[in-house]
Symmetry: C2
Subunit: 215 residues, 2 copies
Amino acid sequence: MVNYPNGRSHPYLTSSQQNLLPQKATPLKTGSSTKSAAVFGKRGMNFEEEINATNDYYLSHGLAVVHKKPTPIQIVRVDYPKRSRAKITEAYFRQASTTDYSGVYQGRYIDFEAKETQQKTSFPLKNFHEHQIVHMTNVLAQAGIAFVLLHFAALNETYLLPASSLIHFYREKQGLKSIPLSYIREKGYKIETNQIPRIPYLEIVKKLCEVHQNF
Amino acid sequence: MVNYPNGRSHPYLTSSQQNLLPQKATPLKTGSSTKSAAVFGKRGMNFEEEINATNDYYLSHGLAVVHKKPTPIQIVRVDYPKRSRAKITEAYFRQASTTDYSGVYQGRYIDFEAKETQQKTSFPLKNFHEHQIVHMTNVLAQAGIAFVLLHFAALNETYLLPASSLIHFYREKQGLKSIPLSYIREKGYKIETNQIPRIPYLEIVKKLCEVHQNF
């Protein structure tokens, strides 16, 4: 069995997350696009934790194999001390060139990005970078399953929005800086999060696979 | 069109690789398991470059979307200088918990690890870690396509070995420290590398998909 967090005080962490946590009292930036790294990092980690716990649940129950990719780092300087392991002494966070999550569900390729916002009526498009949109377009062209998980923290609502709808909006509405919640509600699928696993996105993926060939 | 290297002097690098290259004169360790980091790093990069160039070819020709995952890094200390981007000042290379490459080919999930050796008659098993074997087992259970690309540098021969055969050998022959080349030749598929793309593994994947449901 997998243990899940009941609250924020003892969050469930995967090994990859534990390794990303600072072991000294330094703030840690996640891959997010805000300048308030410590604050957004914390916000991002909580939604991320829930998704990672969900993926752990799916893995341990043989339902899907989905992993978060490591944070891309640009390494500049490495020291090789004698009798000790290599130590990176200068490196920088890089923008991801693909999406954060990928894996396999019943033979099919799954690919998604997870983002959250404090906004209540729309989702800022700055959360998605051009090369991520291109990547999702490529995945769809190869008949992969691609989507985004959008969490409205202030509303405590989470949606699965198929990549096709995100890409369509991104390409058609270049002038707009955010996706209206009404569009997400129309084109996306609300995820009920009061259960185990916490973000049961696979239920929606399963339904969409039965109806459509592609996403 | 994609440019390919004719030699080693101007290797084709993906953006992710360029970011992994040291910008100062420090040796750079790859995810490999040897202690001679600089030497193995160089060896590893060359085979890796060819695979990444192959993936770039597949991507640009709409044949598959396969990416190398970022190198997993354990971050210990991050500085946030004013008016400057976050700087990682202490971090360490981590062992990968999954395989290096994943992606989608005609809707199906592809997952593989690429390794090379200087040995001429066998492939050292130390190149594969227990959790990678477990990961490949999970991928196969979810009907994903999983394999390893094995490069014998001294022989200039490259094989695709289905994960099922690797796992079988790994589980059955715990006492042995390496996989005999004869086993790889029997269970695997030789990749002709004198063409573009350099490591055309997708041709074998395609054939195996036509014959088998799983790998």
